[in-house]
Every structure is written in C-alpha cells, then in structure tokens.
C-alpha cells in the first residue's frame, strides 16, 4: 500500500517545522481531534529531531523521509533516515526522553530497519474515534473540518474557541 503522504528532505533542523506544518493538513482536511493531532505532531517532531541530531552527527545532513498512511482509522507514520541506526548516546545534548515520549503518545512504536537497511521509527495512532474513516483519498463526511492549527498563520479560527 502506497503511503498517502511522503516527504523527503535534508535532515536539517529548519525542516522539522516544515514537516510539522505539513501534518497540520490532517486537521485542516479531516475532523481530527485537536489534542490527538497535537500528539501526532509532537511524536513526529521528536522522531525527526532524533534524525537531525543523531543520524548524521559528523556528516553533512543526509535524507530524512516521513511517510504517512491512513488506513481504516489508523494513521501510520514512518520516519526514516540513512544513519547508522538507533543506539544509546550518552553524550547526547538532549534529555533522552524522545523515544519514551513517542511511545507514550503513539499507540505503538517500532524501531528497526527497512528492506534497504534504512533506520526507521514506525508509529501508529488510532484516529477511529468517529473522527476519520477510510483513506485520505476519501473526502471527509460533512466537508472540510475544523481543527484549528495554532502554527498556521492563515488559521482564522478564533483563539477563544480553541480548546
């Protein structure tokens, strides 16, 4: 099954914002619960940050790929890189909370390698609480949805109505 969305870009810090912004389209298009959308975006941000910080530490930034597939109410996000793999980093500048945070936000997390030996973090999120049915190629019932995007300068939703 082909992913509904694939992004491939250099693993630079500034591109994390781009990925995060792209995932906001999920809320713009479908009636995804805002809190759940925030969880998805935070988990994806953490996974991408790990790639930027650790995957190509001493080299020029390599590729960062993010794939998202929605199937039967389950969103699967894969964050992929061509670094050496996931290993403990005692000298890491971070707190080491990235993967535990992802695990707490996602329904499931799988760390591994794909068929081309690329490192990947595979996360799933259940969107099936009456929010989204079917694939992203299916138009949303009731038209365009409503989740406000706090990162989107074009979002005209009254902040007072955001929960």
């Amino acid at each position: 099954m082909k992913p509904d969305m694939e992004l491939s870009l250099p693993a630079r810090a500034e591109n994390i914002a781009l990925i995060r912004h792209a995932f906001g389209a999920l809320g713009e298009t479908f009636a995804v619960d805002e809190e759940l959308l925030s969880d998805v975006r935070l988990a994806v941000t953490e996974a991408c940050s790990n790639v930027v910080v650790h995957a190509y530490a001493e080299e020029a930034p390599g590729p960062l790929e993010v794939l998202a597939t929605l199937d039967d109410g389950t969103l699967t996000v894969v964050v992929r890189d061509e670094g050496p793999g996931i290993a403990p980093h005692p000298d890491s500048p971070g707190l080491g909370l990235g993967l535990p945070l992802i695990a707490s936000l996602a329904e499931s997390v799988h760390l591994g390698r794909d068929e081309h030996e690329r490192t990947e973090v595979r996360m799933t999120f259940s969107l099936s609480n009456g929010q989204v049915d079917g694939a992203w190629s299916t138009p949303p019932a009731g038209g365009v949805a409503s989740a406000a995007d706090p990162d989107d300068p074009d979002d005209q939703t009254d902040p007072a109505t955001r929960t």
Partner: protein, 143 residues
C-alpha cells in the same frame, strides 16, 4: 575617526547554501491541496518571498493540486520544490503522457486566463526521469 576594521556580528554572511529540494508525494484527494500549500508556504517563506508573490504562488499551487489528479499516472502526484536565490522551482511529476498539457489546459479560467501561465515565470515539460509519463517544471521569481 576612521571606521573600525573589527567586523560586527553580522559583517560576514555565511557562504550560500546549495539549493535545497523538498520532495512531496501525496495521494490525490482532499489532503493533496492542503499539504502542497503548507509545504510550499514554508519554502516560500524561507526564500523570503514577497507577500504578493507568496499569494501568487499559493494560487498556482491551488490550481495545480485541483487539476493534477485528472492527469496523473496513478492515484498519487509528486512534487519537488526547490528554493534557489530569488526563485522557486516547482516540479509536478508522475503525470501521464500528455498530462502536462492537460493540466495547463485545465487551468484556463474564463475572464482570468490561464492561472499557471499567469502566475509562473517559466514553464517547460520534461520526460519523466523514470521513463514513464512527463513532468511539468514551473519557475516562480521571488524578487
């Protein structure tokens, strides 16, 4: 007093970075337009695109994402956005043979003209790098 020779914190600009490309592949459907617009807006903002050209580019993206699904080889459309100095290149890929011309034709609006021609600075059609179909390459000036 002659000027100090000590460079200020912003005196030396960093060496120019090579053009950076973002590849996006998205299923045709309601998500296609919002995702392309969001990715394009980030690239345009990063290129410090003036607001009027920013709007032009998003209108162009709207037209492409609205009409490209009718001209793709399968259920996905691929884009590559590259920010260069004062220019953005938008490559629309995975179009079937004749799809680029079809996409251009569909962008013709009564009393407005062709949206793609109006809002892009140059257009060319290239054969697809994988040998099947073709790609429409648009350039937008951001000066």
């Amino acid at each position: 007093m002659s000027g100090s020779t000590t460079p200020g914190p912003y005196a030396s600009s960093p060496p120019p970075e090579p053009p950076e490309s973002v590849a996006l592949r998205v299923s045709t459907g309601p998500l296609a337009g919002p995702v392309l617009n969001r990715v394009a807006s980030m690239i345009l903002a990063r290129a410090q695109c003036p607001l009027d050209r920013f709007d032009d580019a998003l209108i162009l993206c709207d037209a492409i994402s609205a009409h490209a699904p009718a001209h793709v080889r399968d259920s996905h459309v691929a884009y590559t956005l590259t920010a260069e100095e004062r220019t953005i290149e938008l490559r629309v890929a995975e179009l079937r043979a004749g799809g680029a011309a079809g996409l251009m034709d569909d962008a013709l609006l009564p009393d407005v003209g062709n949206v793609i021609e109006r809002y892009s600075d140059s257009r060319r059609v290239e054969p697809a790098s994988d040998g099947g179909g073709e790609e429409l390459v648009l350039r937008l000036g951001c000066a």
